[in-house]
Amino acid sequence: MPTTPPPFDEEEDASRADVSGEIRLPATLEGAGPLPDRAEVVIVGGGVVGLAIAYNLARRGLADVVVIERGYLAEGASGRNGGGVRQQWSTELNIRLMQESVDLCRRFAVDLGVNVWFRQGGYLFLARTAREVARLDKNIAIQNRCGVPTRMLEPGKARDIVPELDLTGIVAAAYNPTDGILFPWPFLWGYARQAAAHGVRIFTQTPVGGLEPQKGGGYLVHTPRGAVRARRLINATGAWSPRLAQMIGVHVPTYPIRHEICSSEPLKPFLRPMVSELTSGLYCSQSMRGEIVGGVTIPGHGSTYGMGSTLEFLATYARRLVRLMPILGEIKVLRQWAGPYDQSPDGNPILGAAPGHPDFFLACGFVGHGFMMAPIVGKLYGEWLTGGEPHEIFARYTLGRFSGGAPPVPEKEDFNIG
């Protein structure tokens, strides 16, 4: 005799979805309401740098913080980058910062309660000329001194790591197994959610219309949602930083450079490290979603806020990538997009208060690497603005260095690849 199945219990689904605990939390983002009248710190820019600072201030007890984002979270470069996190830099200061950032990335899922799909598959930089090898050699010596285990490989050894490589023309490779990649979007949501849980208020779709310096310090920040009086203001608007600074007459000498990037159909995991060749700035990695994500640097393009996509990019990327890994010729590109690098004159970020404007702080000029630096820069900013000793970066990476200002001038960073 056929038995009738029991009635389907739809409630089960709802309770299962609720197990995450997330649904019971209040919304991370503010609705359509007005800004508060005042805040101890107003951070302009809802990208990874601004949110990392907000989170670190709040967890150290300074929760009277408002984040103002012109569009939606991750609308700028934070949502448009390749998710690379590396320690292969050319100056000791940047190498040491990135060592700490990688440590923070390793703990991020536990600390922030969100899966950011971080994977340490290493970074493999390929050299095609003796000059490129010399450049890598010089950097490796500094990295090793800092404790980063980068090593120079013969081309054949590089193929042990990535068997799909065509070694024609490759003379050597620099490999650090502890570099990695992550998925940028959840990183922002993690910071935003934890910051909001600590009391930070995050307003999206809120452009800043003007900054009015106040007697006794601070700024009145005008927006379509009303004005908020900020005792201190942090400019974390990435490539748009010069524009915000201009509102109070501060010149920030960075400029936007459009970089294009694309993503493929998902493939079974096969590619462990991020692969990059110095000659073209080609880079590609396989995300935890299985997609091949990568780009190439086409020289000679001017400064622009335009974020359009070009066939020239896709053709150049395809040509270089298929040459380097011929087996990838059959995989399909699903989408391409672009994001702005905030290009600084010496390749290093700009941090700390603007000269003559002690309540106007900068966190910009990251040259396409703000995402990987945000965890440590956010932490150091949070420590400093809650009464801790300022880290060396706030003395070295000043805006004043470009106007012949206070020494010490940092070493030029020349390894802004990919």
Binding site: D13, R319, V322, G329, I331, K332, L334, W337
Partner: protein, 103 residues
């Protein structure tokens, strides 16, 4: 039930996923795309965008006309790298065998 209504087949995004996303405050169609992953698979939104937008309109009490489509990304259809690599507009670097302009 919402957990069984699939809005985006490529990325397995359900109505329950959308409801959760909206409850967190992520209500812009671009935010919804990033938070849920809808529209990032092989169809790039061609199948799912209207379905998600209509449900988003209901959940956020907006008229569908107030919800613009998310930015459409090239290429129009999934395209193999080997075809793109043959495009004559590719930039030539110094080491390219048939380099005409060098970088």
């Amino acid at each position: 039930m919402a957990g069984k209504i699939v809005l985006c087949r490529c990325e397995d995004v359900t109505l329950a996923d959308l409801e959760h996303c909206v409850s967190r405050g992520y209500q812009d169609i671009e935010e919804v795309k990033r938070y849920t992953g809808f529209g990032t698979g092989p169809c790039q939104g061609k199948e799912c965008l209207a379905a998600v937008a209509s449900q988003l309109a209901l959940l956020t009490d907006q008229s569908p006309a107030a919800i613009p489509p998310f930015t459409s990304r090239p290429p129009l259809a999934p395209t193999p790298l080997r075809l793109l690599a043959r495009d004559p507009g590719a930039h030539r670097f110094a080491d390219d065998p048939d380099s005409e302009r060098s970088s």
